[in-house]
């Protein structure tokens, strides 16, 4: 890695690693995906701990959040809102699939784009 691309953090600390990074898979995108998946898993662990902490603090104050959560049944309105959220979330997760489908159905391809570039220049 090098310092050409600025670190995500403040200038005080260096985040990049000097030395060539090994590539483990034929397609370097898989290497990058491994990093992304584990970075996201780390953030999931943070969220898990936050919820767990909330439940424990509430329990210490006599509010049995964990038990109440287990007992909770969403009403029709809450269910509908949740379903809508899940669908938006799934659509975002599969945005590349939809993008690809759009291109196929609309016959959008590399040659067409090259032609378009030519047209507007």
């Amino acid at each position: 890695m090098n310092d050409t691309i600025p670190d995500a953090g403040a200038p005080g600390v260096k985040r990049t690693i000097k030395g060539r990074r090994p590539q483990f898979f034929q397609d370097p995108a898989i290497d990058q995906l491994h990093g992304m998946v584990m970075a996201m898993a780390t953030e999931m662990a943070v969220l898990y701990e936050r919820v767990d902490t909330m439940e424990r603090i509430a329990a210490d104050k006599g509010v049995m959040l964990r038990e109440e959560l287990a007992r909770y049944r969403p009403g029709a309105e809450a269910q509908a809102e949740r379903e809508a959220w899940r669908q938006r979330f799934l659509a975002r997760l599969f945005y590349l699939y939809r993008e690809d489908l759009d291109d196929r159905l609309g016959q959008e391809n590399e040659a067409q784009y090259q032609g378009f570039l030519k047209d507007i220049s």
Binding site: G9, A10, F24, A45
Partner: protein, 398 residues
């Protein structure tokens, strides 16, 4: 598993004034990465072993009519295998994440840590016990600056601001996670085991001056202060930010150590100045030229009757070829360029060539002081840093 469980014993890292104090989310990240590393060991490494012994090796034997010759041949067979690739990739990712999640805490606390180290160096809040001597003109060895060792951003010498201590703070917290806490709450098991080894084997030995070479943040130095309270203890390293941190760390823990920025291959101490010279996991982070030079420098620095003790992980001859291959992954995937080559060096011959009498050179196992005190038995398994029940020590007597 039972008695010989390698499971992580969750002993929290011991607090001192320089140690970063992760906030809630930072701690959750750091705990997760430590758990991830522990899981790689318990949940992924066994699959790599099973793949080699159950699939790759038998297939090779059927094809070639013999077993794979050495770690290099095993490496050729294993690197294309998807099970190995996933293991190696995840190991690398865990290492990158480790430093990155600790850097969050370091970045947040850095200005305060720099101030604390300045105060310790200036003796504010009382006369310092030890001292700090930096040499900005010291040439830095290429094996320290060539790559960031064990993928730690900035390496041992990286400095970004005046009086920077960032990499010291990063190392102290990061190594605790890296070693899965197996080096004890102060990360000091190598120094602690070596110091205990010297006391147990040489009960009459009373060193007046002690030198710790390649001390980093002084975590392995302090057990020698405790083991030999009457001795004058010196510690050297090439990294200025490490030494600033190390000095402030030692002061905050009430230990007297004289830290100096020096190269272990050629220090400026007089001949015969020390009765005891030690190093902890220094050798594998040097080079084929530097290692013999360090041993020669030890010979020069030792007074007659003096002792040098160098602790590290086991050499290759102490394990089978497959574990050699697994251990050697550090060379290829964790920016440890001398890791594998060092484990092939005959350190006894190096010591003899440096001037020590053959009968005064021994290669031994020093039982882990931390684990024997904690009653925690574990076996050495390549694939992780944490050792078994003992550290390998090269002991030379002048």
């Amino acid at each position: 598993m039972g008695e010989n469980s390698n499971a992580f014993a969750a002993v929290p890292q011991a607090r001192h004034a320089m140690l970063v104090e992760p906030d809630r989310d930072e701690l959750a990240r750091q705990d997760f990465v430590r758990s991830f590393k522990a899981y790689i060991q318990s949940g992924i490494v066994p699959g790599v072993h099973a793949t080699y012994h159950g699939e790759v090796k038998p297939a090779f034997a059927r094809r070639e009519g013999r077993e794979p010759r050495d770690r290099h041949e095993i490496r050729q067979l294993m690197t294309p295998h998807p099970v190995f690739r996933t293991y190696a990739s995840m190991q690398r990712v865990s290492q990158e994440l480790l430093w990155d999640v600790v850097l969050d805490s370091v970045e947040r606390e850095l200005p305060a840590l720099v101030e604390k180290a300045r105060a310790a160096a200036a003796g504010r809040g009382g006369r310092p016990l030890g001292s700090l001597t930096l040499d900005p003109a010291l040439p830095l060895p290429n094996y320290v600056t060539g790559v960031d060792i064990h993928c730690m951003p900035g390496g041992y010498c990286g400095e970004r601001g005046a009086d920077d201590v960032g990499v010291g703070a990063l190392y102290d917290r990061g190594v605790y996670i890296y070693a899965l806490g197996m080096m004890g709450p102060y990360n000091d098991d190598i120094g602690g085991s070596a110091a205990k080894f010297v006391r147990d084997h040489y009960p009459q030995f009373r060193p007046r001056r002690i030198l710790d070479m390649g001390c980093t943040v002084g975590h392995s130095t302090l057990p020698f202060v405790d083991a030999f309270p009457d001795a004058e203890v010196h510690a050297i390293d090439v990294g200025a930010p490490l030494l600033r941190y190390a000095h402030a760390r030692a002061e905050s823990l009430g230990r007297k150590v004289h830290f100096a920025q020096q190269d272990a291959t050629r220090t400026n101490f007089p001949d015969g100045h020390f009765d005891l010279v030690c190093s902890s996991i220094l050798f594998h982070e040097t080079s084929g030229k530097a290692l013999p030079a360090i041993v020669r420098e030890c010979h020069r620095l030792l007074a007659p009757g003096g002792l040098a003790v160098h602790g590290d992980l086991p050499p290759f001859w102490a394990m089978d070829e497959f574990n050699q291959f697994m251990l050697d992954c550090e060379t290829w995937y964790n920016n440890e360029p001398y890791w594998g080559a060092m484990r092939e060096v005959d350190q006894v011959e190096v010591a003899v060539a440096a001037g020590f009498r053959r009968e005064d050179v021994e290669f031994m196992m020093a039982p882990s002081a931390y684990r024997s005190a904690a009653g925690h038995e574990r076996s050495f398994e390549a694939g992780e840093f944490a050792p078994g029940n003992a550290w390998q020590v090269l002991v030379t007597r002048k």
